[in-house]
Amino acid sequence: MGQPEPPFNFLLSKLSSDRDTAEKKLKDIRRRLVIMLDCRGCTSSEDLAHEAILCFARRLPNMDPPFVGDVIPYLYTVAYNLYLDYIDKQLLALPDNFTEIPGPDEEAANIKEQLHECLDACLDGMDPKSRDLVLDYYRLDKQSKIDLRKSLAQDLGISVNALRIRLHNIRANLEKCIEQCLGLKPPLEME
């Protein structure tokens, strides 16, 4: 995260008296804010989350009466209002000189080839056990999902839910690796 900007100092002090703990808490809140905005279908959730925290951090020291209590409901309201502004801007009319409307899948089509190359590289770089597990899972996914999970979990000697979490973690790591390979920001993480 590096050295936070001055407006963050007051906010950090509200999160914890210990600086490191406070920074960790802020980092986690930002990550969750990005998830939330992503779930709302916001295409620039990273930027919007940063803006929400910055806006909140700037307001916090100037509140009268001084702010006390839980920061989450307040931060949520700030983020939600910014999200509403974002939605309004999305609905603005196109400029007169705008001639080309990109297809919805244009971006996806452009990066598909590159994404496959990155997937190759990331699978190669994975530890063999995780790679075998995830590939087995998708190789067999024509079976009933419940049966497949049961059989895989049994083979691994773990519960079905532990398997779900393991697969989720493998996919998350793979996604992070692919994002980095594509030269994008790591997903849902602080810089």
């Binding site: 779930c39 949520y76 080839e113 496959h116 190759d120 998708y138 779900r164 989720h168 996604e175 994002e179």
Partner: protein, 226 residues
């Protein structure tokens, strides 16, 4: 969100039961009322574990979509609401890619463990090496197109060098056939097989294949005019 305590029966290790999962699924598909969304999002912002649960259900929603396990309504919501962000579209492509990869790979150690023991490690290593070789050879898919182009170009070279005959070559062949019984001139002509000179004078019948001679004339004239 009406979620029970982690000790409730039917809860899984992530603290979710079927109703919770369905509720999160509805949220991710944009199927909740604003009030419900606000409540859920505040919890998401507050609890790390809950945020991870949302991401897990997001993953599994993508799988369900790929498997065709969503209802018509859910499928429509998935395409129109869920897939609006580039991150999720990338995730969908990643899962597609994984399925493609998995379909060309041999079963790995985990599921086929019993089978592996019976077959032996050497065999497994060979199969893994073969699968890896196939993957390296044909992935990404542009390599298939590159290989096809190379094969086409090599075939073209072989055809040109071995099988192709120019009109001049075909004309000379036809000329050889026309005069294989007797040569037209007393002197030998380079490139033509040996045939005796008839020594006959004008007006006498010649032992010549006239059809081959006409074909040769036509081919050589065409080649000359080109």
């Amino acid at each position: 969100m009406s979620r029970g305590t982690p000790e409730s029966p039917g809860k899984n290790e992530m603290g979710l039961d079927r109703n919770d999962e369905q509720y999160l699924k509805s949220y991710l598909l944009g199927g909740l009322a604003q009030e419900e969304m606000h409540e859920l999002e505040e919890q998401l912002l507050r609890e790390e574990e809950f945020a991870n649960q949302v991401l897990l259900i997001e993953d599994e929603l993508i799988e369900d979509y790929m498997l065709g396990a969503l209802s018509d309504k859910e499928r429509q919501q998935f395409e129109q609401y869920f897939l609006t962000t580039s991150r999720r579209r990338r995730k969908l492509k990643m899962v597609e890619g994984l399925r493609e990869h998995a379909s060309i790979m041999e079963p790995a150690a985990i599921v086929g463990a019993t089978k592996e023991q019976a077959i032996g490690t050497d065999s497994k290593d060979r199969r893994v090496a073969l699968a890896a070789w196939r993957t390296r050879l044909f992935q990404p898919r542009w390599k298939i197109a590159a290989f096809a182009s190379l094969i086409f170009m090599a075939s073209l070279v072989v055809w040109r060098a071995v099988l192709y005959q120019s009109p001049v070559e075909r004309g000379l062949l036809a000329l050889n056939v026309a005069y294989k019984q007797q040569r037209p001139l007393e002197a030998r002509v380079t490139g033509m097989s040996y045939a005796p000179h008839s020594g006959k004078r004008g007006g006498e019948t010649e032992n010549v294949d006239y059809r081959a001679r006409d074909l040769s004339g036509s081919l050589l004239l065409t080649a000359a005019s080109d």
